[in-house]
């Protein structure tokens, strides 16, 4: 049920104990594709209620940008969840690594590449420490990473005050970074010439002053897609992927079968922290500033996206593509509501209802199609 790799023809054919199953059913059984049903529902809803500009190219980009930042976190969180653990310090880690990154650039005047490398390294180390504490003490990761949620958030505040001399906002990062190739890898938009060309030939919308409404694809979207691809490949096709499923499904059984459960979990914690650092780098470079509230409650949103995408909170089951769609659904709902006429007082009511409906619908469709009861 978890994986549906192709089967040697000899195996499945002609067993009278299997009913014939259509291609659609087969596809819908994959956990990730269930999330598509939720996505369709949400899109249909907005199609009828939202301003048409939502479904224009530029509208989609305004949705994809936040969805992709959340999505990078969600995919890491979902890998960690498949591996049987939680990380509640993701959001604080975004703020903390953002501070480290910003301080390296401004206060220490380091070049961009050193700052990026050091930030990622530090995040990996801190994630691994998180993981080691969880493993060695055998405490639930919930409580350990919750402690780090507070600790890192607090350190960010202290660090910011130190770095800025009393403020909780570190600015002026744009000025020191300049405009190298490396910066373009982590911030701004890609494929700019293409979009300019398209605009010149009136293939995409532009503003009255001739600038295309969409100047390119935000690089975070590319990262998002890339991370999804790699994570999916690792999960479904590699040894480490098998170990992740095993470690989350039943750590004792996995250990007894020779899976290095502890190393896998430590690695996943490090990975999650790195994903947070990546998002921090992208947002800090994009915004040119960082503050004490960056990433607030992002751990929550990441877990929501992973769960919408079909990952089990108890571990051992889930997919990266599911988290991909989960993040898009979440982004669509939260930005999409601003395209509608609903009063913002009702925002949370709608957000909650849409989430519930999307998950319910996804679930309903999956059960209908697979005949599961």
């Amino acid at each position: 049920m978890v994986q549906n790799e192709q089967t040697p023809a000899t195996a499945t054919k002609s067993d009278e104990r299997i009913r014939q199953v259509g291609f659609l059913t087969h596809m819908m059984r994959r956990p990730e594709l269930g999330a598509v049903a939720g996505l369709v529902l949400v899109v249909v809803f907005f199609f009828f209620t939202a301003d048409p500009s939502m479904f224009s190219l530029s509208g989609l980009m305004t949705i994809l940008a936040p969805a992709s930042q959340l999505g990078i976190l969600a995919i890491a969180a979902s890998l960690l969840m498949i591996g049987g653990e939680f990380d509640l310090s993701i959001g604080s880690m975004v703020a903390f690594t953002g501070l480290i990154f910003g301080a390296l650039l401004t206060n220490f005047g380091q070049p961009l590449w050193i700052s990026i490398a050091f930030t990622l390294l530090l995040a990996a180390v801190m994630g691994a420490v998180n993981g080691q504490i969880v493993i060695r003490t055998r405490l639930p990761s919930f409580i350990v990473t919750l402690a780090f949620l507070f600790i890192l958030r607090g350190l960010t505040l202290v660090g910011l005050k130190w770095a800025t001399g009393g403020s909780t906002q570190l600015r002026g990062i744009e000025d020191v970074v300049g405009d190298g190739v490396l910066k373009q890898v982590f911030s701004g938009v890609a494929f700019q010439p293409l979009f300019t060309w398209l605009a010149e030939h009136d293939l995409i919308e532009k503003f009255d002053n001739g600038v295309p409404k969409v100047t390119g694809v935000p690089v975070s979207v590319l990262w998002f897609v890339g991370v999804t691809g790699v994570a999916t490949w690792v999960l479904l096709r590699t040894r480490v992927g098998n170990w992740i499923f095993a470690a989350g499904g039943d750590p004792v059984a996995a250990r007894n079968s020779g899976v290095p459960v502890h190393r896998v979990k430590t690695g996943l914690f490090a990975l999650t922290a790195c994903a947070a650092a990546l998002v921090a780098i992208i947002t800090v470079l994009d915004a040119g500033s960082t503050d004490a509230r960056r990433g607030f409650q992002k751990e929550f949103e990441a877990i929501i996206a992973a769960v919408i995408g079909g990952s089990l909170l108890t571990g051992g089951y889930g997919s990266a593509i599911g988290a991909f769609f989960g993040a898009i659904i979440f982004g669509l709902v939260s930005i999409g509501l601003t395209y509608t006429q609903f009063d913002s007082d009702w925002f949370q009511v709608f957000l909650g209802s849409m989430l519930l409906l999307a998950v319910l619908f996804n679930n309903f469709i999956r059960r209908k199609v697979t005949g599961e009861r």
Binding site: S58, I63, R153, D208, D291, A292, R293
Partner: protein, 288 residues
Amino acid sequence: KDIKIIVVSHGQANDPFWSVVKNGVTAGAKDVGVKVDYRAPETFDMVAMSQLIDAAVNQKPNGLIVSIPDASALGPSIKKAVAAGIPVISINSGSDVSKSLGALLHVGQDEYSAGKAAGMKLKEMGGKAAICVNQEVGNVALDQRCKGFGDGFEGNVKVLPVSNDPADVRAKVKAALSANGDIDTIMALGASTAGEPSLAAVKDVGKLGKINVATFDLSADFLKAVAAGEAAFAIDQQQFLQGYLPVVFLANYAKYGLIPGGDVPSGPNLITKDKAAQVVELSAKGIR
């Protein structure tokens, strides 16, 4: 043709301060007959806010009203709006950068100077040692209120981080007061969330009247305490105007191209014992 205006602020709809701004927006829209949308990120999140501004620009409104607590993060999005030909008015925070980002004008007064005014007033009342009760540490707007207060007060100021829970605020203020008997001034950063429980705590330790309690923003119960002489004052930015005026301005700009020539300072307005009684009812309705 309908005139549509979008407001993007950094204050959530359930924040007592911003709910008054929103009421102003709604009242303005009704008075001049335009459509408005009020948007804010779920938490104090500058990245999300810039994305909301992008989404707003994409809808091509006839006017855009934004608060600017972080010019670096929001600047590019605001500039994009201006470049797209959308008239922008900034409110509340960002008076210093408003012009340079291309906004037509700024309505409001920044948190720092409001804090400073309050600090000076409390110093004048004889305060030497104070706590600044902050219900949302890390929210730049509140941090600035505290910072301004400290700079104006010029005495010994300690920040007391609390949550939104009145029982928690009350307990922490009580704890701070019993741990340090020198404290003679309490500056709360929100009237209902921090101010009222602080007053209760002062009552609990039996120092009502001996400790000057002041707060940002208004709430009916706090104002009653001010009227009764139990609390010092409440400081008000008249944020209703920060919502009301820009809507009216932008509507007139869209209709007739009319716009005031300069920034509009909406506050601060210290509400002391003599004025408090009149404001209670309005505050209970979310207008002040």
